[in-house]
């Protein structure tokens, strides 16, 4: 950058992003190839040990058996209903956790008395796995939808809170100073600087909690539920249908992966300024 004119011409033609993308995907190709190879090798060995009878079908059904079972439950819509039931519970519990934990976390991160007041309580609640809440929530809420949602909430809200507090505290103090210097009120600083500054960290927290929320709903469904993926697996075990157990497990993986993918999409849409940071 030797002069203002040069500086300007550099930016009149911003770096061609499509070209960058193409180059990086070319470099990624062997990685993707190996990714596929790994999964493929795993399935082949699975098919081999089960079809050859080295492992009894009582302990592990063959991948073909699992595939035909999957096709059967998909055709009766049983699988789709199970996925939908679990997803709705995760969504509700998770939304509730975010709605409560994010404002509370911003408050705790920016106002020390709130943090001092709540820190000991949170330290007590944090080590409790969400399944330990099953007896109490069943007593309070029965075994219906509300109880499942409560388990998801109890399992995920603390992580959302901790991430929010941490990222709120880590907002660059010079940006707060700058905002005040430009005439922002305390409330405006909160809305215009602290919240957007903490947003990347809050979203990372939500992504971590999303996976945790899924494990919560499954354990709740295994203990007591009429439907959902956890109930599907648990009843399949009772019927001795091991193939259906595996179908349930694969469905969980696939559903959580899709949820993660959607979360990443959402994250990118909400943080347009982070895109440039990652590329440079």
């Amino acid at each position: 950058m030797t002069s203002a004119r040069n500086m300007a011409s550099n930016l009149v033609a911003p770096p061609d992003r499509t070209k960058q993308k193409r180059r990086s995907s070319l470099r990624d190709r062997p990685i993707i190839l190996l990714n596929i190879l790994g999964v493929f090798a795993f399935c082949i060995s699975w098919a081999l040990v089960t079809e050859r009878g080295w492992v009894s079908p009582l302990f592990l059904p063959s991948p073909f058996k699992v595939a035909s079972e999957a096709a059967a439950v998909a055709a009766t819509h049983e699988l789709w209903w199970a996925i939908a039931a679990s997803s709705v519970r995760v969504f509700l519990g998770f939304a509730l956790a975010a709605a409560i934990a994010i404002p509370l976390g911003v408050l705790m991160g920016s106002w020390w008395p709130a943090k001092a007041l709540l820190d000991p309580l949170i330290s007590l609640l944090r080590p409790l796995p969400s399944i330990t809440w099953i007896p109490l929530t069943m007593l309070w809420l029965g075994i219906g939808e509300a109880q499942k949602v409560a388990i998801v909430f109890m399992g995920s809200w603390i992580y959302v809170l901790l991430y929010t507090v941490e990222s709120t505290k880590r907002v660059d103090p010079i940006l707060i100073k700058a905002a005040r210097n430009l005439g922002a009120s305390e409330f405006a600083v909160m809305r215009e600087v602290v919240l957007p500054g903490a947003l990347p960290g809050i979203l990372s927290g939500l992504k971590v909690s999303l996976a945790i929320a899924w494990s919560c709903v499954l354990s709740a469904e295994m203990v007591a539920a009429q439907n959902g993926l956890g109930a599907l697996i648990w009843s399949a075990k009772d019927w001795g249908n091991l193939a259906l157990v595996l179908v349930g497990m694969v469905s969980i993986s696939a559903t959580v992966l899709v949820a993660d993918l959607l979360a990443n999409r959402l994250e990118r849409a909400l943080l347009p300024w982070e895109r440039h940071k990652r590329q440079s």
Binding site: M7, N10, V12, G183
Partner: protein, 259 residues
């Protein structure tokens, strides 16, 4: 010319360890006049940035008063706008939204904010980059955005803390000339901190030379070199004499500090 900002018997000490205070400034008296371009010049440790931070209300003096239009500054005051050395741009806002921040905080209507921002983006030569994010710009351009953002907030005094310190020599030179031009156009009162004698000579109406341990004012020099201070002025005997005079004032401090 009327006094707009003034430091009266200002001292500032920081506690570095328990029972150990360092005196950063001792009994500083300084008047800043309306519409002038003032440079605070000195070696590191002379308290020039401390004084600037007190003008902005970021930190209070230990003794004495900072007065803006004869009334004391008690907290962060938007009437004294700060241009940070580290830019301090909001990374989640585009150039336009960064520059609009001050007018918006004043509660001006949206279209007025937008036209004000547009005018200052134009003034600092960033036309066409209004919708870029700060991370997409070079250091020099980010410094222009910070300047535009502070100007758009329309403070009574513009405080600048080594604004060009992080830039390469040539970009710095271009921005120094532009800042001089902008100051002459807008008649904004500017207090700029620097340790670069040439920078002070290019821009300042008056140069406040400070010395360290503890920080105090050594001399106030009026700089009436011809404007614009282009290369011809910079090679003139008058420039050389003024530079020599200032250097003789600070040379002792610099070698003392370096040893």
């Amino acid at each position: 010319m009327s006094v707009i900002l003034s430091a009266q018997h200002v001292s500032k000490s920081f506690s570095v360890r328990q029972n150990e205070d360092v005196l950063a400034l001792r009994d500083v008296n300084l008047d800043v006049y309306e519409h002038e371009f003032l440079c605070l010049l000195g070696a590191s440790g002379c308290g020039k940035s401390t004084l600037l931070n007190m003008f902005a209300g970021f930190t209070p003096p230990s003794q004495g008063d900072i007065l803006l239009r004869s009334s004391p500054i008690t907290g962060i005051d938007p009437r004294c706008g700060m241009v940070f050395q580290s830019y301090a741009l909001f990374p989640w806002r585009t150039v336009r939204k960064n520059v609009e921040f001050g007018p918006r905080m004043k509660g001006l209507p949206a279209d007025e904010c937008r036209s004000t921002a547009g005018r200052f983006i134009e003034m600092v030569g960033l036309h066409g980059f209004a919708d870029h994010y700060p991370a997409e710009l070079s250091g020099g351009m980010q410094q222009r955005v910070t300047l535009a953002r502070s100007l758009a907030a329309d403070p009574e005094v513009l405080l600048m803390d080594e604004p060009f310190g992080a830039l390469d020599a040539m970009t710095r030179h271009v921005l120094q000339e532009e800042l001089s031009r902008i100051q002459r156009e807008s008649l904004k009162t500017i207090v700029l901190v620097t340790h670069n004698i040439d920078e002070a000579l290019i821009m300042a109406d008056r140069i406040v030379v400070m010395s360290p341990h503890p920080g105090q004012i050594k001399a106030v020099i009026t700089n009436d070199l011809d404007r614009p201070r282009n290369i011809d002025v910079q090679l003139s005997p008058a420039w050389g004499e003024l530079k020599k005079e200032i250097w003789s004032l600070v040379a002792g401090d610099v070698s003392l500090h370096a040893s």
